[in-house]
């Protein structure tokens, strides 16, 4: 991820001018970067290791919620394991809570159990190893 984008977004709140497509791609990159750091050994519960990423998340999520992209906002929060933050959002009101909750309830079906995840991840690594 380029350094320029990092500074640009955290400093300003003029996300709209960057275009929604950019926000979407940025959100994807944040997720990837977050996962890369966790795999590299960072503690997911420690905010300090992800301060730069979470700063951007705090800007993008409210922006998404305000612009009818609740699903994307939740996806990003799930990606960075900070779903609890959804409760702190002021932009969730009586107009959009139904959509947010519906999305949460439906995604719940597809959540995985941490143990299972560990198992399937090891399997995946094993398969990659055997391919080489």
């Amino acid at each position: 991820m380029g350094d320029t984008t990092t500074t640009a977004t955290t400093d300003d709140n003029n996300l709209g001018s960057w275009g929604h497509e950019f926000i979407r791609s940025l959100a994807g990159e944040i997720g990837q970067e977050y996962n890369a750091r966790v795999l590299a050994g960072a503690d997911p519960d420690d905010d300090a290791a992800f301060a730069d990423l979470l700063g951007m998340v705090d800007v993008i999520v409210p922006f998404n919620v305000e612009h009818n992209a609740e699903a994307e906002a939740i996806d990003l929060l799930i990606e960075v394991q900070r779903l609890k933050n959804v409760l702190k959002l002021d932009s969730i009101d009586e107009k959009n809570y139904k959509r947010v909750c519906l999305y949460l309830i439906k995604t719940a079906d597809f959540m995985s159990d941490p143990d299972d995840y560990a198992v399937s991840n090891t399997l995946y690594l094993l398969q990659i190893a055997s391919c080489k």
Binding site: Y97, V100, C101, A108, D109, F110, S112
Partner: protein
Amino acid sequence: MLTLFITQEVLEAAYELFHKQSQYFDALRVALRMGNEEAIPDLMSQCSDPLMKKQMCFLLARHRINFEVEGDDDEEELNEIIGNEKLSEEFLKVAQDLDVTEAKTPEDIYKSHLAETGGFSRRREAGGAVVDSARANLASTYVNAFVNAGFGQDKLMTPDNEWLYKNKDHGMMAASASLGLIQLWNVEEGLAQIDKFLYSSEEYVKAGAALAVGILSSGVRNDADPTLALLDEHINGDSHIMKCAACTGLGIAYAGSAREDVMELLLPLVEQDNSGPNTMLEVSLAGLALGMIYVGKCDDAVGGTIVQRLMEASDEELDHSHAIFLCLGLGLLFLGRMEKAEAMLEALRTIEHKISKTAVIVLETCAYAGSGNVLQVQEMLHQCSEHIEEDAQHQMAAVVGISLITMGEEVGSEMALRSFEHLLHYCELPVKRAVPLALGVLNISNPDFSVIDQLSRLSHDPDTEISQNAILAMGLTSAGTNNSRVAGLLRQLSEFYSKEAGHVFCVRIAQAMLHMGKGLMTLSPFHSDKMLTCGPALGGVLTLIYSCFDLKSTLLDKSHYLIYYLTCAMNPRMLITVNEDLSWRPVTVRVGQAVETVGQAGKPKTITGFQTHTTPVLISSGERAELGTEEVLSVSSVLEGIVIVKDNPDYEAPETDEKK
């Protein structure tokens, strides 16, 4: 890549959001989905809107939660709603409105005059094959009971006692128990009718009556608590058949209630070990009843007792055809509770008997029921891959388990359907025999075209058990729908198998399910927009499924009364709109195919291809309703069952309307 999140946390967030918006009804739905029953009292006390409270109680009633409201102004009324005390009244009113109160006879269902060979076949048979009239009568008893369930009147049992004495032994028991199903939910009137049989000199009639009392009050709370009062003495009595009936009756009546007094009554029955020939049957039935009563509650006392009984049982006891119901009881105890069953699983693995494998799989699949856990599904498929022809009961449990795990979630169920196709091609007989059952579990009360097609093919399989299971599964998938296609198929099957008593019995039971409650009921455990799974309902269906593993020694033998466990799954599929005082208020509603609206912006339409009706209406599986008028607002966010509506304060009557 999915990150380390678990279902609970996501639901927790949704719960908090609803809570913050004071949407207590929706918060309650999420809480029930999480299995978090501790939240109920908080939500009830925080909610200040009396109408919403009532609506929440209707939800609790449908979910069969035994919750007592305390310290509320409307305490009595709310408890009445949770206790389903008015369910019978409302159901009968709907029946009247739809003009289906007229009682139906089994012949109305069989329609043998439509069969090509009509009256001829029977005359020819009389000389040749032996006509199993006892079993035919038994079948008619069940058909009569299921078709007229809840209507309070029929043409065989209520007019006089003649039909009862046309049956023998266990047939008599089924017949007198059928009174309970006919009077379903109507405790007071039902008791008056059953009372005379409770003191009959005939043991089987008395047992049936005891069972009837249990069936009658399935999911209904009554201050007098007649079931416990009347069955108490029989549990501790000497008569084997009375004990079996009382266990089953208690299991049906108190399913999901987690009543401690009932548990204390049943526990000694599980613990008993005077090795009489009938002991294991009693132990298993008591274990099953406990599982039903404590479904999904993970109770230590119940779990510990059942596991210990399994571990200490002798080999002969575990060889008993009904031992699997003891395993099922344990499974139900942990229904949907996932890793909470871990400790029990370890204990079960130590049993040195082939039942150990079955017990482990039953418990595992019950615990992960509805979770859609892919790794569990793979594990079950792995079990099926072993080619064995004997002692393969665990494989059957695994096949049904795949359905159990994936049920309720569309993508998963579709994938499961595909793997069943493979199982049919590549696996040994025991696995194949369970496939129709698994298809049934996946589509309860949902006669999907392709599934019925598949089952219809399997119902002509040369293997007796595959075809019998397929026939019963057809009944299960079409339960309470009056689906004419299935009706036609079953009629053909009754002719095709006219010389096989076992098959004919299965066809009759399937027909009984198809026309259950004259098409006003469903067996589906899913409700509230398919978000919640009702534990007792799923347990009832599973009891039927597991008895199909060995039809010869269950339904086709003496313990056919296990079919009555389906009562726990029976629910009216009606939508009624009521005023604030719970009197009927017919309004226009649109009913159509439900559309998934998740992730869509704005206010997307939730149904498609709708028709406009005036309530009350029946809602089929996969359908959804929305209000067709702006005159009223509904208190509930989901239009199912009994829904309270109130006047819309912003409504302005159109000026052109001449009536106003």
